[in-house]
């Protein structure tokens, strides 16, 4: 039973199924392009991110500025490109932090049950309740202001719901016959979790991850209002969107393009996520 699904063929099968899913492949392509653009930004950005033209001010999209300019006469395309570096990095890294902690915490808590579960979940309750703004301000005082801290701070709040959701799923699966059977057979606990429990909660994990990424990207802008993370003239999607709202009647493009970029990323992520879920579905594998 265990050897029948050895890793290499599992992943190969999954990839084969994924590559047949057109929407998922489209999502993957868009994301690859996004990440490449972000990486290549310093070389391909049409303008310097700090270059201003105060006399020009905000202008709608034109030949010189494809996506228009903001109130400082800065090129919006350049800002979005540079912003993607920050937002994608924060989105993926902070989510990875949240994902790792959340999934581990939730799985262990849900699988172990009893007192361990109680202590772990009450810890989650405590962390939910602590005043977040004060927590961030304190973090900055203790550790200074840097990007690493930004990931930490975001990861610190975002893993909590993930842990709750994963625990809920694991609790349900733990009582199923094949898990009980595996326990009776004396398989090591870590193997049961990795081989049998995790694959079954993967779908929900993937969905919640795709929900977390945009949330994290937007949370970053709140943190930069507190002084953590990026500062002008650097920009991020979250910041561009929150400033875009203020001027949406006067300069709608300043809201539209950053929001559209974020939406495009999210749609791609979702298609990819759904595709991955289908591809990795253990039940599909036995069909």
């Amino acid at each position: 039973m265990d050897n029948a699904r050895s890793s290499p063929s599992l992943w190969k099968d999954a990839w084969r199924r994924l590559s047949r899913n057109r929407l998922a492949m489209l999502g993957l392509c868009v994301l690859t392009v996004m990440v490449s653009l972000a990486l290549l930004t310093p070389w391909i950005a049409p303008y310097s991110y700090s270059a201003q033209d105060l006399d020009l001010g905000a202008t709608p999209p034109s030949g010189a500025h494809w996506l228009g300019t903001d109130a400082f006469g800065r090129d919006l395309l350049t800002l979005i490109l540079y912003g993607s570096r920050v937002s994608l990095a924060v989105g993926f890294l902070a989510t990875a932090v949240a994902l790792t902690i959340g999934v581990l915490w939730g799985t262990v808590s849900g699988y172990a049950g009893g007192r361990t579960d109680a202590v772990m979940m009450r810890t989650v309750d405590i962390l939910y309740a602590l005043p977040f703004t004060i927590f961030i301000i304190l973090l900055m005082v203790i550790f200074g202001r840097n990007m690493f801290l930004l990931f930490m701070a975001i990861g610190a709040v975002e893993w909590l719901t993930m842990a709750r959701i994963v625990r809920g799923q694991v609790l349900g699966i733990r009582r199923q016959e094949y898990i009980e059977a595996a326990i009776v057979m004396g398989l090591p606990r870590s193997r049961i979790m990795y081989r049998h429990v995790l694959p079954n909660v993967l779908g929900v994990i993937i969905i919640y991850t795709t929900l977390t990424i945009p949330n994290v990207i937007l949370l970053e802008s709140f943190l930069s209002f507190l002084g953590l993370g990026i500062q002008p003239p650097q920009s991020s999607w979250g910041l561009l969107i929150s400033y875009g709202v203020e001027t949406m009647e006067e300069y709608p493009w300043l809201l539209f393009f950053p929001a559209a970029t974020l939406s495009l990323t999210l749609f791609s992520l979702n298609f990819l996520g759904d595709g991955l879920r289908d591809a990795l579905d253990p039940r599909a594998a036995t069909d």
Binding site: S50, A51, Q52, L54, D55, G57, A71, F72, I137, R145, S224, F225, L226, G227, Q231, P232, P233, Y243, E246, T247, E249, E250, Y251
Partner: protein, 544 residues
Amino acid sequence: MSDSNHKIVNRLLTALFVLLASACSLNYESNVESGNRDQILHLGNGDEPQELDPHITTGIPEFHIQHALFEGLVAKHPKTMAIEPGVAETWEVSEDLKRYTLHLRHDARWSNGDPIKAGDFVYSWKRALTPALGNLYAYMFYPIQNAQEYFEGKLDDFNLVGVHAPDEYTLVVDLKAPTPYFLQLLDHHSYFPVHPPTIEKFGAFGERGTRWTRPGNFIGNGPFTLKEWKLNRILIVEKSPTYWDAARVRLKEIHFYPIPNGSTEERMFRAGQLHITERVPLEKINVYKRENPAALSISPYLGTYFYRFNTTHKPLDDKRIRMALALSINREQIVERVTKGGQIPAYNFTPPDTNGYTPRARISYDIDRARALLAEAGYPEGRDFPALELIYNTDEGHRSVAIALQEMWKQALNINIRLSNNDWKVYLDRESHLDYELSRAGWIGDYLDPTNFLDLFVTNGGNNRTGWSNQRYDELLNQAGMTGDQTARYELLQEAEAILMEEVPVAPVYTYTRVRLIDPTVRGWEDNILDQHPYKYVHLEAAE
């Protein structure tokens, strides 16, 4: 399956449509319409008032309300800000300008009908000077003989403080030194009287946070009195029948709305919910200029927007560097393109025409000289210049100015400035502990006198916050404080200002303006540089 889905979707859509259609047919009267009919002014008022006690608060929202609820010994003309009689009908000033004898009008009444006595003012000012109360504006009393000593606990007997009531309707005030602006202080909220029996009824003499300012408990002496106060929602004042000048008051009520967000406030104005807003969001100013200029009101405001330099920090301890930074600010461009609210570029610290004083010394916009100074100080073409950090508190306007300045300095001097956004309290903490390099700052005058601005930068002054110290400057301000003659006094201050503009511990950027949206039906709301609008002159007139 899909049939039932269709049904559900259809039903949902129908419900939504009915909901919207019924909402659409709701035809409610806007605040402005009903207000115009009933003489009720609807006013956006910034933040929720912290408190209404005139001896505790310091904020502008509270001040707006207190001006409706209380009246000082004197008042101000709504347009010229010239001193007018308030509770005091007449007054005399002694030859040496150090004794003021004020005669209270006999028809002045508290809102419960009690007559206002000179003793009430002695009581109130003693209360304002009680340290336990924590009056942040206690220093406003320092021109009065022994007031500072009493407040600092060096003196226990309030009888030694220069305020006495020889009879029920006479108040005598003795000053430490001639203070040409003293009458203006009497219109400041810290000098407002409180009703002694009410204070005593709800707490001890010097007790903070008692319930005397709640509706029902409150007794004041202004043209309006407190009717309703719902936290974070609304504060309503209504016309006071006992006010001595009640015949002049035409508004029946004023509704103050605490609206912390400018965009929300602007939308409420557009929907006819407000007559007057507290401010206008930056990006909306040009829209109103273009589409509804009649509603946009821009008036000069007694305040300076500036940047502080930490003069204890290398390389800002070198005045050539500070000067280079100050010289390369294109102020015209900042007010035209960034702040957009008609602000006036500031080339000196005290705003122009502050009670007849306009500073002569000025710095300029001169990039060539700035570059030369930077080179002279050891950084030709900005080479090896350390990346300085500029701190500001979270605010759209501060951010915008900082972004523009950052690029101006980069272009003019080839130096890099890092911007650092801070939450308000951290920003204050860093600035007052000199834990910064450059910092944005602003100063709003409380009264019309240049010392209100120049006093900031005396050595170790609490509001100096630059580490800058100049002996001659201190002497000049000290001398000015003892001089009664305005011309001679202003000459001393001109010299001080010249020192300030040569040493540049601060770089002035612009003189503030007050930008508001005002419905055209509002009458008697005059522009003035103190942004004070005595409500007894205001009324509403619906357009024909």
